[in-house]
Structure formats: C-alpha cells, structure tokens
Symmetry: D3
Subunit: 130 residues, 6 copies
C-alpha cells in the first residue's frame, strides 16, 4: 500500500462527509484542470487539517466561513463551505451571525457580499425541500 493513497482516501472521505457526494464531480472537474492541485487540495486541507482532533468539523466550517467572508473575493469557495457548514450541523442563523460579526473585522462590503452568497445557498436548500 502506498502511503500517499492513504492521505488521499482520508481527505476524500472528509470532503464527502462535509460536502456530500456531489463533491466527486466537482473534484473531477478540478482534476481536469489541474490534477496536482486537486491532489494537494484533497491531501493537505482535507486529510491533514480537517481530520485533526483539536476542533470538531462544525467549528472548523464556521471558522472557514469567517475566513472566506474576510477574504471577500472567493465567493465560489464560500458557497461550497456554507453548504458544507449546513451539512455538518450549522444552522442558517449561525452562518448569518458569523457573517454579521465579520463586518467588524473586514468591513461591511465583505459582509454584504457574503450575505448574498449565503442567501443563494439557503434558497437552493429551500427549493430542494419542496
């Protein structure tokens, strides 16, 4: 057994738990663009970092929503992680609360952009339930 495969498998399992089985096709499309970045993404953030015992997955997703709100430009990644946060136990209200708090640290434009992204995710979930 090759050790590299083990990290990849652990990372992929974490991604499926966080993002649902839809992650497989998203990952396939990233692999088509850059197989090496896809591999690094599975192995470093999701195998090495998210699986560490120090914080539970829900807390980690909350921190990531905060981080992506502060960065401001990566709304596509924020969308994925808001979905992920909902999947691992965050409520929509908690996500909105995180975004509101980030207005203090990164300004209102950061919060306004993130709220639009959050609303679009919550809209999808509502539609999916009907």
């Amino acid at each position: 057994m090759q050790p590299e495969e083990t990290r990849y498998d652990r990372g992929l399992a974490t991604m499926r738990k966080m993002f649902g089985p839809g992650i497989d096709s998203a990952l396939k499309s990233l692999e088509a663009a850059s197989p090496d970045l896809a591999r690094c993404l599975v192995e470093f953030p999701f195998a090495d970092v998210y699986t560490r015992p120090g914080l539970d997955l829900k807390t980690r997703e909350m921190l990531t929503v905060a981080a992506l709100t502060v960065l401001g430009y990566p709304q596509a990644e924020l969308k994925d992680h808001i979905r992920g946060a909902l999947n691992v136990g965050c409520t929509p209200d908690q996500i909105l609360e995180i975004i509101l708090q980030m207005a203090v640290y990164a300004g209102f434009p950061a919060a306004l952009e993130a709220v639009k992204t959050a609303a679009s995710v919550f809209g999808e979930s509502a539609e999916a339930k009907n």
Copy 2:
C-alpha cells in the same frame, strides 16, 4: 419612542439622500436575507458615521470610492457608491480621477476593475437621460 428607531430613521434618511429612493427595494432585499445585517448597515455606517459633521457627504463618498477601489473585490458596492457619489455632487471626471490615483496605492488591476464599474454606471446615467 424607542431610541433604536431614531438611529434607524436617521440612517435611512441618509441612505435615501445618497442613493435615491431606489435604495428602499435594495434594502428590502437585504432584509429578506439578513434583517440584522440590514439594520446594522442602516444604523452604523449611515446613521452613526455618514451623518457626522467632520466631513461633507461629497467628500465621504469620494473616500468610499477610493476605499472600495483599493479593496478590489466589492464591485457591487462600488457601483452603488459611484451612483451615490454622482447623486451628492461628484462629477464623473472626479470619480475617474480618484480611481486613477488608486493605481498608485493598490496597483493597476484595482484601477482597471473600478474603471469598468464606473463606465457601466456612467453608461446607465447617459441612457436614463435619453
């Protein structure tokens, strides 16, 4: 009389003066996504900050155009504030001059993104006049 309402009213009046009556529907859509962020936005930036006597509204909008150009990612907010700047007395040439100066502090990509947004606002105004 509830004190919180007074701040809200003052903020809403400032927003209408800056952005025109169209702000009411924009605010309604933000309230649908996050009523608390909408309230904070009306009360902190627009009631507490923009109404302060130290700088006039036109100067404040020029500073905000500079700030949003530097941040780079919030082009939707920049669009709103370019409209606001025009409403409170800035000329299109002054807005382009601010954006050009920001090339010095945040680089040419920031200025190029902002100029595209400014041109789209100026185009709307020109159309509205015809």
Copy 3:
C-alpha cells in the same frame, strides 16, 4: 436616560468580560487619540455585535482569531483577541489549531505571523502564573 449611554455601558461590560479590567487603560489611550472611534468601538462591535444571542462569546472569539489571522497585518489586535479568547474559555491548543487551519485559507505567512503572536501571549500567561 440617554440611549447612547446604554449601548456604551453594555459594550464596556462586554469588553471587560472578554479582555479583563486592563481594557480600561487601553480604552483610555484610544480615547486620547480619537474619542469618537473609541465610542464607536465600544458601541458597535462590543454592544451591538458581541452581545447578540446567536453565538456564545467563546465561539465569537475563535472566529475573530481566524479573521485577524487571515487579515495578517493587525497583530496588535490579534494579541488582544488571543488574550480575550483565553479569558472566555479557549485553550491555547484550540487557538493554535485555528491558526493552523488558516494556513489553508490565507497561506502559511498568515499562519506563521499569527503563531509568533500567539506564542508571545502564551509566554506572558506562563510568566504571570509563576
């Protein structure tokens, strides 16, 4: 009773709970530089945001440590909030875990700068105990 005072009092109480009584002299020094920014700081982040029920203080401080790590430049504020996080129940290991996770979202330089700041706070606490 002036409504503004109520927000200020609530904000100051939150700041003392988070940062300890040492916050009073830090606030006095900020007031000497800009009394209006000091007032806004007490009233908006600490009265309006941190007292909201949606997230507990410990979670809020964790999110703020993440936000300041991502921003990178505000190491003085990060230092204060790492102290605050310890005061409201975070462990040093949790703070290091947050910083490590931020390497994924803002890169290793952000995490390395934050770890130096965290180590300096943990060093103070260790000294204070001896």
Copy 4:
C-alpha cells in the same frame, strides 16, 4: 517629437508583443472609459517597467501570474496575463505550477480561482487550434 509619445509607442509595442494585436481593441475600450488611465497603463507598466533589461518578458509574466493569483479578485487581468504568458513562451504546465505554488502563500481559494481562469484560457487556445 514629443517625449510623451515615445513612452506611449514603446509601451504599445510591448503590449502587442505580450498580448497580440487583439490588445488594440481592448485598449480602445479602456480609452473610451478613461483615456488618462489607458495612457498611464501603456506608459508606466508597459513602457517603463516591462521593457527594463533586468528580467526577460517570460519571467515577468510568470511573476505577474503569481501576483494576480495572490490578489485573487482581478480574474479578468489574470486571464489577459495568462494569455500573455503563453504568448511569450510559458507552457500551460508552468502556469499551473505557479498557481499551485501560490496556494502556499495566499491559500487554496486563491489557487482554485486562478485554476478556473487558467482552464478557461487553455480551453480557448485548444479551440482556436481546431
């Protein structure tokens, strides 16, 4: 002969070498929005900086791809410079390698956004060849 024209001509020649003759219409559209920013862009980055002897054009474009990946928000400029990098001798694999390395310094969201942009440019080139 006016000296200002000399810088402009040298800048324009550099831009054509880097971006191909298509740059003329892109520049015309920028000139319509802000003739002064267009002139500054031709003269400062492309006449004063890119023509300097210290680094060859290929290395300069690699550095610019790194810079734009790190900034994150200017994906339109990144698209132009990925095309430029290909024109002056970079391979698609080198561009992907630069983007992957930037995950270390600006985080995975920066790299993921840039990879999508790179893939869209490589897709165009592939289509153009067919």
Copy 5:
C-alpha cells in the same frame, strides 16, 4: 533638455510641497536601496498623478490616507502621508474622521492601526511646536 528629467523635476517639486524639505533625505535613502524604484516613485505618482488638475492636493492626500488605512500594512507610508495631509491643509480632526469612516469599509482593526499612527504624527507636531 532630456524629457525624463522634466518629469523627475516636477515630481520632486510636488513631493517637497507635500512632505516638506525633509523628503530629500528620505529619497536619498530610498535611492541607496533602489535608484530605479526611487525614480519611478518620483515620476509616476508625484509627477504624473498628483500634479493632474482634476483634484486638489488636499483632496488627494485625504484619499491616500483612506487608501493606506484600508490596506492596513503600510503604516510607514501612512505616517508620511498623514504628515503630507497636514502640510497641504488637512486638520487632525479631518484625518481622524477619514480613519473612522474606514472602519465601515475595512473593519475596526484597520481603523485602530491607523489611529495609532495618526496619534504618533500629531504627537510629533505638538512637540515640534513647543
């Protein structure tokens, strides 16, 4: 007459008007580190941009104080431009007002860092008068 010298002379004259005669030794120290960056700095921002007629020098310095506050990391440049703003007619209260407004767009950490820098400049001016 060499055309390049004219831009340099015009830029240097602008810098002396904005920063006072002390700028000569600051520039000498930059020239020792990188003569080419020093020349670009004199020629592009201070000859090409600050001398343009569209905005007066006082407004330009206010915009620059806003921009540097938003960027957060360049406190040394912010210090120079706060001195410059005072030299071309800004009051300390206006500078503090700009910084306070930036809390809305770049968050409180940006404003807090800038206020400390402003206070250190105002302290120098007060000392110099005694």
Copy 6:
C-alpha cells in the same frame, strides 16, 4: 519506515538547501510554538511543492518574493525568502527588479516596504563578507 518521515526529511533537505543550515534553529523555535504547524510547513510547502519538477528552485523563489511583496504584511517571511533567493542563485538586482514590477500590481506602498526589507538583507550579506 514511516511514510510521514519521508515527506518531512525531503522538506527539511529542501529548506536547508534554500535557507542554509541556520534554518534548523528557526524551525526549532517554530516547533516550540506549534509543532504541528512546523510539521505542516516542512511537509506541504517544502516537501510537496518546492520539490516538484515543473519549476526550478530559483524561479520558485522569485515567484515567492513577488507573492510576499504583494501581500505586504509578511516582511519577516519576505526577509527569509530574499535570503533564500540569494542562496539559490538570484542576484540582488533581480530581487529589486521583481519588487519594482510589483509596484504595478500591488501599488507603491507594497514595493516600498519590500525594498526596505531587501536592503536590510543585502546589508547583512555585505557585512558578512567583510
């Protein structure tokens, strides 16, 4: 043989080649603050990324100098990587050229901060030779 050790060993060897044997004590001090971040740093950037064949070490260090100049706040990491760039074959003039080019993409404050850091490294090297 444990697979994790192999990545660590490869990363450490790369770090020694880039930064010289002095890296061992810097790493020890990071390990004292956060052993896990130290391990991630050795393994992900230096074992997984810098050892990849697509770009040589000198090019990689040039890209990193560009990235850190653009980020602006991590001057300590920039200092290390300027030393690293010199160690793997960059000349001081090439480093200054990279920094000058970054004025175009991240603005003059970014370039000015980086030039000061570069000058301090070049000063050390000059002293060490005497």
